[in-house]
């Protein structure tokens, strides 16, 4: 049996089905990314798993135990970092850590040891006396993570931990998560950043409360149906519209250029004349492997 076994979970708010028949297995030590658009049900699912919301139906087993029935036993094994900064803004970095450690009964020498360990990877030691409200975005997230880790959880659940954080802090944050993974922590993390999904062992796409697909990041990207070409031209709106109006061809802005999509088995040469009318030489189209984002958008569009 898997370390985590999420089985047929549903949760509605009135008529709105926020999570619907959601199942997922997570192995011990795995980093699993839960990816989906806003309103897909990610946070509801996470709140159900953390026992902050009741499921309407379904079960959740944690290391073989029924997590809903035995939550008090599971709780010390679980670390949760919610989406919104939920630490005490008027307490200092160290006071927040002391407070969270106290909740889990960690005091004295054992706490000091844990605190120092957390400081080594968060680099928060120089800011120990600073009030949480005065920390930068990236430092707040590191403190929130430290508070979620203070009791040595076996499972860490992170709800969009890097939203609004700059690229350098984001990278540092993931370096910490990967260090935790090496130490054996299992992680369930939601993110709107496709590049972060690449850090995960596996990912699941969730949309309208249901799981659409799951696999390793490479497997998910490879599920893309069709062919993709990179067009290294400025994606001006009129050019994009002209390309999109060609029957049998799709186009989307991607970074400084565009991705052009063809159906499976089609030939790009077939579109040479039409492309020329939009000012694009067919030779400018370079075949590329699909990216995760290509597949994510494709899945969403077929469902809308």
């Amino acid at each position: 049996m898997s370390f985590l076994s999420i089985s047929h979970i549903s949760r509605s708010y009135g008529a709105i089905k926020a999570v619907e028949d959601f199942s997922l297995e997570v192995e011990r030590g795995e980093v699993l990314a839960l990816v989906g658009p806003d309103g897909a049900g990610k946070t509801t699912l996470i709140r159900v798993l953390c026992n902050l919301l009741d499921a309407d139906s379904g079960s959740f087993s944690f290391d073989g135990a029924d997590a809903f029935a035995n939550f008090e036993t599971i709780k010390p094994l679980l670390g949760y970092m919610p989406q919104n900064f939920s630490l005490y803004p008027d307490l200092s970095v160290e006071e927040n850590l002391t407070f969270y450690a106290g909740i889990y009964g960690l005091t004295g020498a054992a706490f000091h040891q844990k605190r120092d360990y957390l400081y080594t990877f968060s680099n928060l030691a120089p800011f120990a006396k600073r009030r949480a409200s005065a920390l930068s975005g990236g430092m707040k997230q590191k403190l929130a993570l430290s508070c979620a880790l203070v009791h040595d959880p076996k499972l860490l659940i992170l709800d969009e931990p890097t939203t609004g954080v700059d690229p350098l802090s984001r990278r540092q944050f993931w370096e910490i998560l990967l260090e935790l993974k090496r130490e054996g922590t299992t992680m369930l993390v939601t993110t709107p950043y496709m590049d972060e999904v690449a850090h995960a062992d596996r990912a699941a796409f969730i949309f309208n409360g249901s799981k659409l697909s799951e696999g390793t990041p490479a497997e998910l990207a490879a599920q893309f149906v069709g062919q993709i070409f990179f067009l290294n031209m400025r994606p001006a709106p009129e050019l994009l519209k002209a390309l999109q109006s060609i029957e049998g061809l799709g186009a989307r802005r991607f970074g400084a250029g565009m991705h052009v999509y063809l159906k499976p088995g089609d030939r790009v040469e077939r579109f040479a004349d039409q492309l020329k009318q939009t000012g694009v030489d067919v030779n400018l189209l370079t075949p590329i492997e699909p990216e995760l984002e290509d597949r994510f958008i494709q899945l969403m569009e077929t469902k809308v």
Binding site: P37, S136, M194, A236, E293
Partner: protein
């Protein structure tokens, strides 16, 4: 209107001993999509607040849409749109009521405003949500509404401070499609983002670090200049302190 959309020179703002923005000099052409990048705490929001006439500089000068930022902040407020980092709409009002409220603040007449709201609802695909409470809108729709509010009076420049933080890739893409359309129609877009794929959509980007502008150019040229793999690596290499791991980030 002649001249650049934004023209600033030596713009500086201190808070006590702390220099949040340090001699910022910059020009942004009309109709440009300008990406104003930097780490958290680099001084971006302070700079934007000065450009929007919400904060006076300690020293330096400049103009926005031809109006002096020191003396004509009231004129600037009428001509620009500003979408702040924090969701600043009335949660207990519907999307339509928010648009209506802000439209009246800009003295748009009833019939003009009604037509403008319908136009924006269409353009931003807000129509199905127009009579929902703003506080009950999903994140991506909230951001669209906030954009709608910031452009209700057809500003010539919009300042967008992290407009897509926490918004999923599909929404982000649609949002940027809207920005492109606005730029094509001549609106100047001045935008901050932490998403480097979005930074690539900009005509030019600048990078702020510790209050100073340390780079400025097209995304392509900057990546080439540093021989980086991509914009994100270039950005990180530029601001990551060598050897100093306890740097504040």
């Amino acid at each position: 209107m002649n001249g650049n959309a934004v023209e600033i020179s030596g713009l500086t703002r201190k808070f006590g001993d702390f220099t949040a923005v340090d001699h910022l000099t910059l020009s942004v052409a009309r109709g440009e999509i300008f990406g104003f990048l930097g780490a958290n705490g680099a001084g971006k929001t302070t700079a934007i607040r000065m450009l929007c006439g919400l904060l006076l500089p300690t020293s330096g000068q400049g103009s926005v849409d031809g109006h002096d930022i020191l003396k004509e902040s009231e004129k600037i407020k009428k001509t620009i749109g500003y979408m702040s980092q924090k969701f600043a709409l009335y949660r207990d009002l519907t999307a339509r009521e928010n648009l209506d409220f802000y439209g009246h603040l800009y003295n748009l007449g009833n019939s003009t405003l009604k037509a403008r709201i319908n136009e924006l609802a269409e353009q931003l695909s807000l129509t199905p949500f127009i009579d929902r409470l703003a506080g009950a809108l999903p994140m991506g729709w909230r951001q669209r509404l906030a954009l709608g509010v910031s452009i209700i009076h057809r500003p010539s420049i919009v300042f967008l401070d992290e407009p897509t933080a926490g918004v999923d890739p599909v929404f982000r893409r649609t949002f940027w499609g809207l920005l492109y359309e606005m730029a094509e129609q001549g609106t100047t877009i001045f935008v901050t983002t932490h998403y480097m794929d979005e930074a690539e959509y900009c005509g030019r980007i600048s990078i702020m670090h510790n209050g100073q502008l340390i780079e400025l150019g097209t995304p392509h040229d900057l990546v080439a200049k540093y021989g980086a793999k991509n914009l994100e690596d270039m950005f990180i290499d530029l601001i990551r302190p060598a050897g100093a791991s306890n740097e504040e980030n």
